[in-house]
Symmetry: C2
Subunit: 462 residues, 2 copies
């Protein structure tokens, strides 16, 4: 166990990294990996290894690992598949415990020799006590170190946060990274498991559960070789860290395709669904839903129950939020009598004053808004709040005001928002809002769907 | 009929506009309306009307409509509700046929006098042959004229396009406007029906069906007073212009709320669903789905059948697209033998070569990509294509190359894409792609869901 931790920790927090197959030819993956490390401001020492070069990107290059003067914690390999077994032996001799094996051409190819080669390197790695991420992976990123050990330098643009993403697909990792940039979501680690030579979901989740920089774990899966092991680890983690899974393979074609892609038997979707639920893993149905839900789990508390208040600046978006909540198991109950009375004191009878409340007529009156929001926050009949405001010239100050209100008065109820405006208008306010633990979503429906998922997680967690 | 057209055309294409209640006090809606018209570069003449001012925003102001020296086509009213009947009489005397009545305080308020006041102005308007958009509306926008006759100057930032959006909620109109900016969707007209004094969905759809600048009509609804009339008009339009509806009120609370909001009886959701289908109106379940689907209907042809090819740069996102397609009624069939053979000639056996195809191993070989895409486009067993590529340094040129390919060879099959990258990297290529009739979506699931909707529309249209 401890050995696994050490090897994986060498991968995620290395003091020194060797890039085997480093290059400065922009047509080679080895050059992208070098750029990822340097542009991503990796603070440790980098040793480019390439027998044909003395200098790569201005750094001294070494003909082989043996030329490297210092101990190496992590070796990133971008050499052709056939050379990998020999390199793994060299890694062992050099005392390296962690490898990110970007090279493709193993179990995923049609030629059976790929599978044989993967078995060979797995046996070597297991024998040496080496952990291999990959092969056939884009790499890994630890935004806390920071270290971008991938072939995509742009991963360094992702914000640092508390969500770790473990993915069976490099494409899906890239998508999540790009979506996170657009949706202001921070990641702790982004991990491409690739063909899962000797690090599968189970090992990775076990590591991340102990990782202090990871608050929750989001997974993208096609199929798992050892589902039982993952479920056991997940069950033990239940209550500690939320686990989220987006698994494809609901349809027969994608199920079959996943067998080819990473060489795993995907298996029936329904079996997974029920096993996930039992293990306390929350399942979601799309990449956006995965990101939206992870964002909320990273930022805000779980609802104590399913009773939701919707407060909006315009009636329509509020109704759209109610629709999603109510059709997916949440309630939009009447307020307590005291709350209702207070709202009627504060809000003129010009729009809806019952739940959902249309606060439109009060935008010029910050004291009224404050009174309504606080009263609803304190209502014992309410477990969670959704706030929706669409920008209009007349309510420009609304989001800043609401942010101040929410910062002034903490609550243990989740508050999810949809504040929408043209680019630039509310960006600073929304950033401040999210930093205070209130996530914002692009539409009322996505805010509502995310709250549905928080409640679903609350239930499977109990 | 012709009278209705003339009155509505005076509203959407006026040569002259009077703003009754114009102001240059930024705390007043009348100032926002003035800014909307001027900053939105309305090309006709603007007459601010305000008895207390001689100059408003540098323009000569008039004490009343009667002081305006020229004929007025459209009058935008932002005065308090109680003054509106008198102003409508003055509009009639001035020969005005079209009014945008932004003022609130009519049927939507709890006080019964609001409803009475609305009846009064409706009777006046009907008697005078005047059409009123509103009351209780944010206004209307015609991006072709251009004219922003709303209290939100930022609507002028929306791109000009062929989708007209008719909404019962101003909040939802603002949301769609802001989403369109983020998703590169163009609008022809954005219309807030408000309380629907004497212009309801039926009249508006009838007008837009004849409007040469409108290719399709997207609607947001809470409830309709005269559903039968809308369904009849929709049935007649079937085949001419696609009609899309997003109706809230699936849940009991939002249904009840909508009765208050715009004073209409929302009615049971299921009845609407079935009536919409019969009338050839495609229903969707969220604001994003409405925008995504409208975008595709504006840009690309309908699929001839339900057989989809998924070509991706990485396997994972392709599988996610397949999952949505297959669970929602589309097929991911095997290619014809000739297509399959050709793909195997062009693509090394390093990844999935059956449908869905993982084109990853061929990114350095533009001729191979060209061959694969064209072969699949020509396969008689395929009705539509989904292309997914997540950016990585090694495939930076992929989207430009694919755009060139798709521009070179036109097809009558819809092609939907998910090309995802950090901001700025593929923006120009994606713009070029969309201008050529290929819509791009932020996730593979949204591209797939949109294709599902194109096929659903194809079926209800038949």
């Amino acid at each position: 166990m401890e050995k696994n931790w050490d090897a994986l920790d060498a991968i995620f927090n290395p003091r020194t990294v060797a890039v085997i197959g480093a290059s400065d030819n922009p047509g080679k993956l080895g050059s992208h990996v070098m750029r990822s490390l340097t542009e991503g401001k990796y603070p440790g020492r980098i040793y480019p290894v390439n027998p044909g070069k003395e200098v790569i990107m201005g750094m001294k290059a070494y003909p082989s690992l043996f030329g490297v003067p210092d101990p190496v914690d992590l070796s990133i390999i971008v050499l052709p598949a056939g050379q990998v077994p020999k390199i793994i032996k060299e890694c062992q001799e050099k005392g390296i415990k962690g490898i990110v094996l970007i090279t493709a051409g193993f179990k995923e190819i049609e030629d059976k020799r790929g599978e044989m080669l993967q078995r060979e390197i797995m046996e070597l790695a297991n024998q040496y006590g080496i952990k291999i991420i990959g092969p056939n992976t884009f790499g890994i990123v630890n935004l806390h170190l920071p270290m971008n050990a991938s072939f995509t330098p742009e991963f360094s643009l992702v914000e640092k946060g508390e969500i770790s993403f473990v993915s069976q697909s490099g494409g899906m990792s890239h998508l999540m990274g790009f979506l996170s940039m657009q949706n202001r979501v921070g990641f702790s680690k982004i991990i491409g498991l690739g063909n899962r030579c000797n690090v599968d979901f189970a090992e990775m989740v076990e590591y991340l559960i102990k990782d202090s920089q990871t608050k929750l774990i989001a997974m993208y899966m096609e199929g798992i070789d050892h589902p039982k092991k993952l479920m056991e680890i997940a069950k033990r983690a239940n209550g500690e860290k939320p686990l989220l899974a987006y698994k494809v393979g609901r349809s027969s074609t994608s199920d079959k395709a996943s067998q080819f892609h990473t060489g795993s038997l995907a298996g029936k979707h329904e079996i997974y669904e029920s096993a996930f639920k039992q293990a306390g893993i929350l399942t979601v149905g799309s990449s956006e839903e995965l990101l939206d839900t992870a964002k909320a789990l990273a930022l805000c508390p779980l609802p104590g129950g399913n009773k939701v208040a919707v407060l909006s600046g315009q009636a329509g978006p509020g109704m759209a939020a109610c629709d999603i909540c109510e059709t997916e198991g949440l309630l939009i109950p009447p307020f307590s009598k005291a709350t209702q009375r207070r709202i009627e004191e504060l809000l003129p009878p010009l729009a809806i004053r019952t739940n959902p409340v249309d606060m439109g007529p009060a935008w010029y009156d910050s004291e009224a808004i404050k009174g309504i929001v606080y009263t609803v926050m304190d209502d014992k009949n309410i477990d969670a709040l959704i706030l929706c405001i669409m920008f209009a010239s007349a309510n420009r100050s609304a989001v800043g005001m609401l942010t101040d209100l929410l910062l002034e008065r903490k609550t243990d109820k989740p508050i999810l928002c949809c504040f929408s405006a043209p680019a630039g208008i509310w960006d600073d306010e929304i950033k401040r809002l999210e930093e205070s633990g209130v996530p914002n979503y692009p539409t009322p429906e996505r805010a509502a769907k995310t709250l549905v998922n928080l409640f679903r997680f609350k239930k499977i967690k109990q």
